[in-house]
């Protein structure tokens, strides 16, 4: 089992080494990086490349570690008890397996994606230490131990909103996805839009990288935004010359809504454009 990227996902050498190390040693892989550099997509692509099932556990601020293991629906049981339902006699009827349980008991090694682990409470990673380390947990209500026959490949993403505990980090492999350089970016575009006009891409990339260099932007446009923007440019059939005529950073690029996501950034760019025009005029 080796991961070398897929037709729709360009990986760098360091990323594939990390993924392969995690697969070989059966350790979780922690992925960090700028937003929009393909952290979440990675798990789906690994699943596709290796022909595995993807189990996606997206973390929210209210998510507890217990949710991933199982939940005991006491309220449903109480109600059933009152209605005299037969099911009430077996507590197992009210145990809802979570994503980890699902991953542990899958027939074939699955890929488990724990997405945005930093969104949860600060104790969350600590609560999962043993479960991810030994790949087993105990269900108190039914006195049963759920153990993984085949250890799932665990991919964890984080946006750095919270610091992760050291004990947790020690158990993971870590990879930081850098923002792709112009060359890798060209490959990524090629993978997503094979038939796109070369000149349009060249011009669009120039505008894009110049836009990223504008100082003071609140949110720099990232890979996923570039791909969206190219999609729009192609749909609107914008000619490369229309892009060329712009001095990027001084004039707002067409369909900028796909690249700039905050009003302040658009204002900033407009102000820069205005200053530039005045200087020239």
């Amino acid at each position: 089992m080796r991961f070398q990227g897929t037709e729709t996902y360009v990986t760098t050498d360091d990323l594939s080494v990390s993924v392969n190390a995690a697969i070989t040693l059966e350790r979780p892989l922690l992925i960090k990086g700028e937003p929009g550099t393909g952290k979440t997509v990675l798990a789906a692509e690994i699943a596709k490349a290796l022909g595995k099932n993807l189990i996606d556990w997206t973390i929210k601020s209210t998510t507890k570690a217990q949710h991933g293991l199982y939940e005991y629906d006491a309220v449903a049981r109480l109600r059933d008890g009152q209605l005299g339902d037969e099911r009430v006699k077996d507590v197992a009827n009210y145990i809802r397996p979570g994503k980890l349980w699902e991953a542990f008991t899958a027939d074939e090694t699955p890929i488990l994606l724990i997405d945005e682990i930093d969104k949860a409470d600060i104790e969350f990673p600590n609560d999962l230490l043993q479960e991810l380390d030994r790949m087993e947990f105990y269900v108190h209500e039914t006195h049963q131990t759920v153990r993984a026959e085949r250890r799932p490949i665990v991919i964890i993403t984080s946006n750095n909103e919270k610091e992760l505990p050291d004990a947790f980090l020690r158990r993971c492999f870590f990879h930081y996805i850098k923002f792709p350089d112009a060359e890798t970016m060209a490959q990524i575009v090629e993978v997503h839009f094979p038939s796109i006009k070369q000149r349009l891409v060249a011009e669009a990339m120039r505008v894009f990288f110049e836009l990223r260099d504008v100082p003071g932007l609140k949110k720099k446009p990232s890979t996923s935004e570039l791909l969206d923007w190219l999609k729009l440019l192609m749909a609107d059939d914008i000619s490369p010359d229309a892009l060329r005529s712009q001095e990027a950073g001084t004039v707002i690029p067409p369909l900028y809504g796909a690249l700039l996501k905050s009003e302040q950034d658009v204002h900033l760019l407009e102000r820069l454009a205005f200053l530039h025009r005045r200087e020239r005029g």
Binding site: D13, D14, V17, S18, N20, A21, A22, T24, L25, R27, L29, L30, K32, T62, A74, V75, L78, R79, Q82, I122, K162, E163, D166, L169, R170, R171, C172, F173, F174, H175, Y176, G216
Partner: protein
């Protein structure tokens, strides 16, 4: 096998543990790296480094171990400083007289050219003297010097204590709360400030109430829900940054980091030396994005508890006199501003990282102590404990 790498990483301050090292060995044995140097580098990085802030340090250690290059982070850190950068720095900070003094020496171009030349000529560490680059000399190049034509190289922060005009622009470090070293004790002390309150959507089953109302309901189930408990204390944290605070940066980072994880409502602002009409949120952008202190006072209601952190070590003018600030012209004195915030936030303390027994040697500490009505505490665990007791 790679013990050298492991030990040097530890020495360079990359937090590596035995477990990670064994992982690396296991992965190497399993053939993940395929005997290629690049792959091994990637593998070692993914196994040993768990934080992007340490990537650079890892790279330097790796280079040193496997290529025998120069050792990183020695006593004297040499770094390539782009000329543009130095130039900009100086243009921003030099007064007109100082610029003239530089002109006298032949202007910036000349100064930089000479610097480059000497950098090439110089091979060893140098201190004192008046020609070579080094520390504490009167040469225009190097740190800790007092030559107005000087360029500061490779010096850690600020050296002067009670500067009336600070000479060079300090590259302040942002206390971004990302340091999680030894903050546990601080967190425990901060716990005194916890005031749990149930707010927001009812998501938890209230067992007592459910049993009660079910019994009253003649045994028919009557569910009662409550909201989860959250720490409802609101904290306004104001941190002095830069200048003489450079020594205490570690203690402040720890405090900030602990506070950030402990309080849901934590608002942090920075100031320099004394509180004036502007504060800022991000130190990197402090010269572009400041917020009027008035606005802060209007934004956060008086049920916020105020914690000021600073060494209060400055020249007395900075507190007492309008226009006394080292960085700008303040129309109202620092004292006026301090008393103003204290009026808005009756629950307030000042935490001082300077050891308590040294407080009496610096006049300005006494002044602030008096303005705070004695509510100044040392930034130690006991001091923090006392301060939290005062606040709660």
């Amino acid at each position: 096998m790679f013990t050298g790498l492991f030990l040097e990483l530890k020495e360079a301050g990359v937090p590596v543990s035995l477990r990670e090292y064994l992982d690396l060995l296991a992965a190497t044995q399993a053939g993940v790296a395929d005997q290629s140097v690049d792959d091994f580098y990637y593998l070692a990085r993914t196994a040993l480094v768990k934080d992007e802030r340490h990537l650079d340090r890892f790279d330097r250690v790796f280079a040193h171990v496997f290529r025998g290059l120069e050792k990183p982070e020695g006593e004297e850190t040499t770094a390539e400083i782009p000329e543009e950068w130095l130039k900009k720095l100086a243009e921003l900070n030099l007064s007109d007289e100082e610029k003239e003094a530089i002109e006298a020496m032949g202007g910036w171009e000349k100064l930089m050219e000479t610097l480059k030349q000497r950098m090439e000529e110089q091979e060893k560490r140098h201190q004192g003297g008046s020609k070579w680059i080094g520390t504490a000399g009167t040469s225009p190049f190097g740190a800790y010097g007092y030559n107005p034509e000087g360029v500061r190289i490779g010096q850690d922060g600020n050296r002067n204590f009670s500067a009336v005009k600070v000479w060079d622009k300090r590259e302040f470090k942002d206390l971004d709360g990302e340091v999680e070293i030894n903050t546990r004790n601080i967190k425990v002390a901060l716990r005194r400030l916890r005031r749990f309150a149930r707010e927001g959507a009812a998501t938890e089953l209230d067992i007592d109430d459910t049993i009660n109302s079910t019994a009253k309901n003649a045994g028919w189930l009557d569910l009662k829900m409550v909201a989860e408990r959250h720490n409802a204390v609101k904290l306004l944290l104001m941190l002095d940054i830069g200048g003489s605070m450079d020594w205490h940066i570690r203690a402040c980072e720890e405090l900030f980091s602990a506070a950030r994880s402990e309080f849901k409502h934590l608002e942090a602002w920075y100031f320099h030396n004394c509180l004036y009409e502007n504060v800022w949120r991000e130190n990197i952008r402090r010269h572009r994005q400041t917020t009027p202190t008035w606005e802060v006072l209007h934004t956060y209601p008086s049920d916020y508890k105020l914690v000021l952190v600073g060494d209060a070590s400055m020249s007395p003018y900075e507190i007492a006199v309008p226009g006394g600030s080292v960085e700008h012209f303040n129309e109202e004195s620092g004292e006026t501003w301090l008393r103003r915030v204290l009026q808005v936030y009756p629950k307030a303390v000042w935490l001082n990282p300077v050891p308590q027994e040294r407080w009496r040697y610096t006049g300005s500490i006494g002044m602030v102590h008096e303005i705070m009505d004695g509510r100044m505490y040392p930034l130690t665990l006991e001091g923090l404990d006392d301060a939290m007791r005062e606040l709660s």
